[in-house]
């Protein structure tokens, strides 16, 4: 399998402006992320709100300026490409937003919204009913406005719009979290079917671990702008190694829950703690976790990377 999308040392730092009351500082929303999405793969990206998942997604799509690191798409370095040079590549990498109601221009009909990418790239518009059928919407929806559709229908329209350009990569930013549970399942089913039929690659952002397990073959866990654990989703979510992953799994409500529980709130990304960024909340933290630099993401077993001082190769059977 070849890499469709690869990031090395990717970082995004936001500078906060100096005001009368506060000195200028910077916030590392994404701090040195290495990521690899193979052609046809589905990588889940999980973590608490504010951990930098969405920022990472927008960095990878070159929607926000990159502070540091490299991105390559289809084997080509796209980090420094100008917007005009990026435009033809945009056909093959598309984004699905979290809230479909906000992702559709309220003034445009479904037909106009789905046709827009085709118009921009000068493609044939006759495929519109076909595209709608592919996402399970009847052709008469073409003349509706977004406010006449349900949440699930709107998300289907967004998916049809993304598919119009025949992408190879779909970045899905919490595509089901704005939908109610019964509709979630339908949309997930649709996404799974599309991936199989079209051979799409997914970067699937979610905080819903059950959904990630269902959709993705690999999963990366993010904490405070860093990836702390990465591996096959069955392994990471079935036998987590990093204390944060364990805490994340333990926070899923279920009967007879136990195990690791993270204390408190995530720290302020503008002033991250020294040492391991998770140590203030980690129930297993030792002296070496509290000082020095953040632990690096190391391969602890085949295809399994963890960033924790306490996890050594010997822990994995």
């Amino acid at each position: 399998m070849t890499a469709l999308l690869q990031a090395t040392g990717l970082a995004k730092t936001y500078a906060t402006r100096r005001t009368a009351f506060r000195a200028a500082s910077s916030v590392a929303a994404v701090a040195g992320v290495d990521l690899l999405l193979p052609e046809g793969g589905a990588l889940g990206l999980v973590g608490e709100s504010g951990c930098g998942k969405s920022t990472l997604a927008r960095l990878l799509l070159r929607l926000v300026p990159v502070s540091d690191g490299r991105i390559s798409f289809e084997g080509r370095d796209i980090t420094d490409l100008a917007e005009s040079a990026l435009r033809p590549l945009r056909r093959r990498m598309q984004l699905i937003h979290q809230n479909p109601s906000a992702a559709l221009d309220p003034r445009l009909t479904v037909a106009a919204s789905v046709a827009e990418p085709l118009r921009i790239h000068g493609l044939d518009l006759s495929r519109l009913p076909e595209l709608l059928a592919e996402v399970g919407l009847p052709a008469e929806m073409l003349h509706r406005h977004p406010h006449e559709l349900s949440g699930g229908q709107k998300q289907r329209v967004c998916i049809a719009r993304a598919l119009a350009l025949e992408p190879r990569l779909l970045v899905l930013d919490e595509p089901t979290s704005a939908l109610d549970v019964s509709v979630q399942a339908q949309v997930l089913e649709l996404l799974a079917g599309l991936r199989a039929r079209r051979g799409l690659s997914y970067l699937f952002i979610s905080h819903n671990l059950a959904v990630v397990r269902q959709v993705c073959d690999r999963v990366a866990v993010m904490y405070l702008g860093r990836i702390v654990e990465e591996g096959a989703s069955a392994e990471v979510l079935g036998a987590p190694l990093h204390p944060y992953t364990r805490a994340l799994l333990a926070s899923v409500p279920r009967l007879g829950a136990g195990g690791v529980v993270a204390r408190g709130e995530p720290p302020n990304p503008a002033a991250p703690p020294p040492g391991c960024p998770f140590h203030p909340r980690c129930p297993m933290a030792e002296e070496r976790c509290r000082a020095g630099t953040a632990p690096l993401l190391r391969e602890v077993a085949r295809g399994r990377r963890v960033a924790c001082h306490l996890v050594g190769g010997h822990l994995v059977g």
Binding site: L61, L63, R87, P88, R90, R91, M93, Q94, L95, H97, Q98, N99, A102, A103, L104, D105, P106, R107, T109, E116, P117, I120, H121, H143, H145, H147, C158, R161, A162, L165
Partner: protein, 286 residues
């Protein structure tokens, strides 16, 4: 099929409200008078010249519904012809101000950074002086006259549109559908034209409707001060300016042009309110 339904909804929303209906009626009457003016006025030669001193300062009667002025002109005739000028000037000022202000505002909101800073500080500079006072100063510098009055009012009017368009563009820029358009590969101009402008239009249309009334009032004010249309021209403000000397005895001379200014301003304001109800996207839902 969609459009008639939306149209029916719009008509329903308008007719439901008495104020909106009154606004439409007033604006329609004034528009009608302006369009048909030269055809329907009883004394066409009284518009300018045609002095009839024998009939000067007649009180309202069957022959002269609104009475006559100090040179015997029929006031009804002059007020109707005045509607044409006021309306033209009011709409002209509003359109020109919007044509300057809206592109600048949308540019400021969309591009941001130093461009926005420059545009907005210039706007603040204009807005920091009361509009009419600045307009008076400008006319005084340019020389009195209806064209100069219009130029002065356009110059003080555009900053309001910059403010409104900027704030709209700023909030729309953050909408996910703008990002969706970028992901689809839309160039900035296309995003501006197809998404930002149409979605900022409703408050701008409402403001423009209200501003036509305000501009009519402003032109009349300049006319009243002797800085706008010159007295033989049948302009409402200029007419009141002369009529002031004939108050209170010959009250009809000032009252009728004044009533027309009042009706025009009220009409356009109520129409703007009604349009706000229709154009608010929330009222489409359900």
């Amino acid at each position: 099929m969609i459009l008639p339904r939306r149209l029916r909804l719009a008509i329903f929303l308008l007719t439901r409200s008495f104020a909106s209906m009154l606004g439409i009626v007033l604006v329609t009457v004034i528009l009608g008078l302006a369009l048909l003016g030269p055809v329907i006025v009883p004394y066409p030669d009284h518009v300018a010249g045609g002095i009839d001193l024998a009939n000067k300062l007649q009180s309202p009667s069957a022959a002269h519904w609104f009475g006559t002025d100090e040179v015997g002109h029929d006031i009804l005739t002059r007020v109707i012809i005045g509607a044409r000028l006021s309306l033209l000037v009011g709409i002209g000022i509003t359109l020109a101000a919007a044509a300057i202000g809206v592109p600048l505002g949308i540019l400021a909101g969309l591009v941001g950074g130093p461009v926005r800073e420059a545009i907005m500080r210039l706007t603040d500079l204009f807005l920091s002086v009361p509009g009419l006072v600045l307009a008076i100063a400008l006319v005084a510098a340019l020389g009195p006259g209806i064209v100069n009055a219009m130029i002065a009012l356009i110059l003080v009017w555009w900053p309001g549109y910059v403010r409104l368009a900027d704030s709209k563009a700023l909030s729309i820029r953050a909408e996910p559908y703008i990002e969706a358009a970028r992901v689809a590969g839309a160039p900035t101009f296309r995003i501006l034209w197809r998404h930002v402008l149409p979605n900022s239009l409703s408050p701008l249309i409402v403001k423009m409707s209200m501003d036509v009334g305000q501009a009519i009032l402003a032109v009349a004010s300049l006319g009243f001060l002797g800085l706008g249309a010159k007295p033989p021209t049948p302009e409402w403000g200029a007419m009141i300016s002369i009529a002031r000397g004939y108050l209170p005895e010959w009250w009809w001379y000032a009252v009728y042009p004044g009533a027309f200014i009042y009706a025009a301003v009220l009409g356009f304001n109520l129409l703007g309110d009604g349009l706000r109800d229709i154009l608010d996207p929330r009222s489409h839902r359900g």
